[in-house]
Structure formats: structure tokens, C-alpha cells
């Protein structure tokens, strides 16, 4: 790494779209900078000049550990990506912290990888990412009253009840997990592509219950009504089973921004 001037900038890439006019509303970038629409080879890259002292190395690595910084950057990045997506315009979102030394590098990327971006855009045309989460409420089937503990002493009876309740809860969780699997299979049939994210995310909400499914689905916009109906119908069916289904989106196609066969040259 060479020393950088205090005011040096590098180029943060947000998304790649087809040749299109810049978004109507100016959405500021991760550094509050004006986002430029770099047009090259029939494609448009949304990119912004960001200060290297904050986004270059090694600063960015340090900053990524700062949750406030990360949250602000993630939201700004997402906002710019969303601004590139219109009714007719697909966009390939770029992963966070994709940095180039100068605009020229981005332009040459568009030239060299134009066909790949085109393929990615075609894959995303008219399709939207939706998230579906299934939460199981582990307390739903709570205590199971047991009668066969009459003849043992109260301490043992207590433990037996506890064990029974625990077993019952485990069964409930398993049933709910199976339910999540079935819903995923059903939604997968209604979508163009699907994937399951880690189950970590939604545990952050107190009282939300155990996250049993964290699915992402790339849904053809014309099929969305059927997709949504499937989510809502099943949700209604299981209303009293301690399972809750949550639909999130629309999302930029973060989970589906790739090109088959591209990686292996």
C-alpha cells in the first residue's frame, strides 16, 4: 500500500444496469457523495468517488467493525441500488465494499464483462427478490399436563412434568421446522430461483420466536400475486399452530446477482 494523499478518492461501485438515464431522484452515496452514472459498452455503472481515508485500505477494514458505520453504509448502498431499479429496469447489485482506484477501471470492467452483465440482467429482468421467514413459537404448545405422576414424590413429579413439557416442545419445534420445509418447497415452485439464507438474522427480534425458514425467492413479477397468495394462505392455515410467516421485500436481487458458469473461466 502506498501512502495516499489526504483528499484522495477511490470509486465505490453500487450496481450495473443497462444504458439508462440516471435515476430521476439523486440518491447520495455511502460517503454522501453524488453518485455518477458511468456509461460504457451499453451498460451503466452507478459509482461514486469516496474518500480513501475512510473507504480505502486499511481504514475500511477497521470501519467495517463499527456497527454504526456499517449500518449507515449498508443503507446508503441499498438506497442507491434501489434507485437504479425501475419498473422496466433490472440492475445487478454489487456486493458491499467493491472499490476501484479510478473510474477508468470500472469502465474497462464494463467493456470486458459486458456479456456477463448482460446475461445477469436478462436473468433478473421482470423478476424481484422476496424474502419469506417462518417463525415458530416454542411456547405455543407449552406445558403438557401429565397424570401419571401421582405416585411419585413432588420433586420427581416436577421433573417428570418438566421433561414431558420439554419433549412436547421439541416435537412442536420439529413439526414447525417440517412446516417451514414444506412452505419452502411450495414457494420454490412458484419462483424462478430460490435459496435459503442462514437462520441467524431474525433472532434479533425479541419475541419473534425461533426462525425456521429464511428463504429468498426470485419471483417473476407476473407470478407475484400467486406467490403472495401462497405465503398468506399457508399463514392463515397455520395461524393457531404457533407458526408465523413473514414476507419481506421487494429487495434488489442481492441473493440472485450472479451469472451461471461465469466463475469458471
Amino acid at each position: 500500500m502506498t501512502e495516499t494523499a489526504p483528499d484522495a478518492t477511490c470509486v465505490w461501485l453500487y450496481a450495473v444496469t443497462r444504458d439508462a438515464p440516471p435515476p430521476e431522484k439523486a440518491v447520495p452515496g455511502v460517503a454522501g457523495e453524488k453518485v455518477d452514472a458511468l456509461q460504457e459498452a451499453g451498460l451503466t455503472a452507478l459509482a461514486g468517488a469516496v474518500p480513501e481515508r475512510e473507504f480505502g485500505q486499511p481504514a475500511v477494514r477497521h470501519n467495517l467493525e463499527n456497527l454504526d458505520w456499517l449500518a449507515a453504509v449498508a443503507r446508503a448502498h441499498d438506497a442507491v441500488v434501489r434507485s437504479a431499479i425501475g419498473a422496466e429496469a433490472a440492475a445487478v447489485p454489487v456486493r458491499l465494499v467493491t472499490l476501484f482506484s479510478e473510474e477508468r477501471s470500472v469502465r474497462s470492467l464494463l467493456r470486458e464483462r459486458g456479456a456477463d452483465f448482460e446475461a445477469a440482467l436478462r436473468h433478473l429482468d421482470g423478476r424481484t427478490e422476496w424474502g419469506v421467514k417462518v417463525f415458530g413459537d416454542p411456547t405455543a404448545s407449552g406445558e403438557s399436563e401429565s397424570d401419571d405422576t401421582d405416585e411419585v414424590n413432588p420433586g420427581t413429579a416436577y421433573l417428570l412434568r418438566r421433561r414431558a413439557a420439554r419433549a412436547e416442545r421439541e416435537r412442536a419445534v420439529r413439526a414447525a421446522t417440517d412446516y417451514g420445509d414444506r412452505l419452502h418447497a411450495r414457494l420454490a415452485r412458484l419462483s424462478v430461483a430460490d435459496r435459503q439464507h442462514a437462520l441467524g438474522g431474525a433472532v434479533a427480534r425479541e419475541g419473534a420466536g425461533t426462525l425456521l425458514l429464511n428463504g429468498a425467492y426470485l419471483v417473476d413479477d407476473r407470478s407475484f400475486a400467486a406467490f403472495r397468495d401462497a405465503v398468506e394462505t399457508v399463514d392463515a392455515e397455520t395461524g393457531d399452530a404457533g407458526v408465523r410467516v413473514e414476507l419481506t421485500g421487494p429487495w434488489p436481487p442481492y441473493s440472485f446477482a450472479s451469472v451461471p458458469g461465469l466463475t469458471d473461466a
Binding site: E65, R162, A188, A202, P252
Partner: protein, 147 residues
């Protein structure tokens, strides 16, 4: 013995973000960090650096998903152990896959991608990175499913 139904988390473990905002943030981070096309900019972090960042981020996201932490630290309490096990078992089967997203391993609840059939069949491998330099292609190929 604590009430086994008590799955609440003390407020002080929740961090500075209100639950709703943290949930939205984790959802977003799940996507912007683990998703999006991977390109090699000159100043993007190199593979080794990304590993370091990922390690660091586990700590960050752990603080976000503090309920999971609570689940871990109270694993001796039956009511919570059940939750933790129920969520972990599927991921444990393919532990390496559970790190596919950064939050996955942190929270220890990653289910992995074992049933990602549409990606392989219909979609031709959505997990594959989009990497534009030869030196990273093999690494990225190996890494991609884990991100």
C-alpha cells in the same frame, strides 16, 4: 429453576439498536454482505483481507444478534437449550456451509444450503461468484458457497 417458557432477553443484552431496527439491519446486512455480485476492484479487499473482515464481522453481527448470544449463554436452561438445538442441528450437518453468510456462523443458526436445489438445477448455480481476476477465481469458487 427458571421458568422454561421465559425466552425473553434482558434489555441490556439487546445492544443500542431497538429490535425492529436491528432486525431490518440484519436482514439488510445478510443481503448486502453475502449477496450482490462479487467483482475485483483494485481496492477491494483481497481474499485474505476478506477473511479477516469476516472474522471481525462475526463479532459485529454477534452484537446485533444478541438474542442468539443469550441463547448460547443460557444453554444450561432447558427452555432455551431446546431452541438452540432445534435451530442448530440442521446447520451442524454441514457446518462449513453454515458460514455462507457472515451472520450464519456468528449466530450459529445457519441451516446451510443443502436444499438449494433450484439454484443448481434451474438457475445453474446462483452461489457462484462473479469474479474477474484469475488469481481469485479458484479461491472464489471454493469460497462462494460459504458466503
Amino acid at each position: 429453576m427458571p421458568d422454561t417458557r421465559d425466552t425473553s432477553v434482558p434489555a441490556e443484552r439487546q445492544g443500542s439498536y431497538p429490535p425492529e431496527r436491528r432486525l431490518a439491519l440484519v436482514d439488510l446486512l445478510d443481503r448486502v454482505l453475502a449477496g450482490g455480485v462479487v467483482l475485483r476492484g483494485e481496492l477491494s479487499l483481497c481474499i485474505a483481507d476478506i477473511e479477516l473482515v469476516r472474522v471481525s464481522l462475526r463479532a459485529v453481527v454477534a452484537s446485533v444478534s444478541s438474542l442468539a448470544e443469550a441463547t448460547t449463554t443460557t444453554a444450561d436452561e432447558p427452555g432455551r437449550t431446546i431452541e438452540a438445538r432445534a435451530v442448530r442441528e440442521p446447520g451442524a450437518v454441514r457446518e462449513s456451509m453454515a458460514v455462507r453468510t457472515i451472520t450464519g456462523e456468528t449466530v450459529g443458526t445457519g441451516r446451510g444450503d443443502s436444499r438449494d436445489r433450484a439454484d443448481d438445477d434451474a438457475d445453474g448455480g446462483v452461489d457462484d461468484g462473479f469474479v474477474d481476476s484469475a488469481d481469485s477465481a479458484d479461491t472464489a469458487d471454493a469460497e462462494a458457497p460459504r458466503w
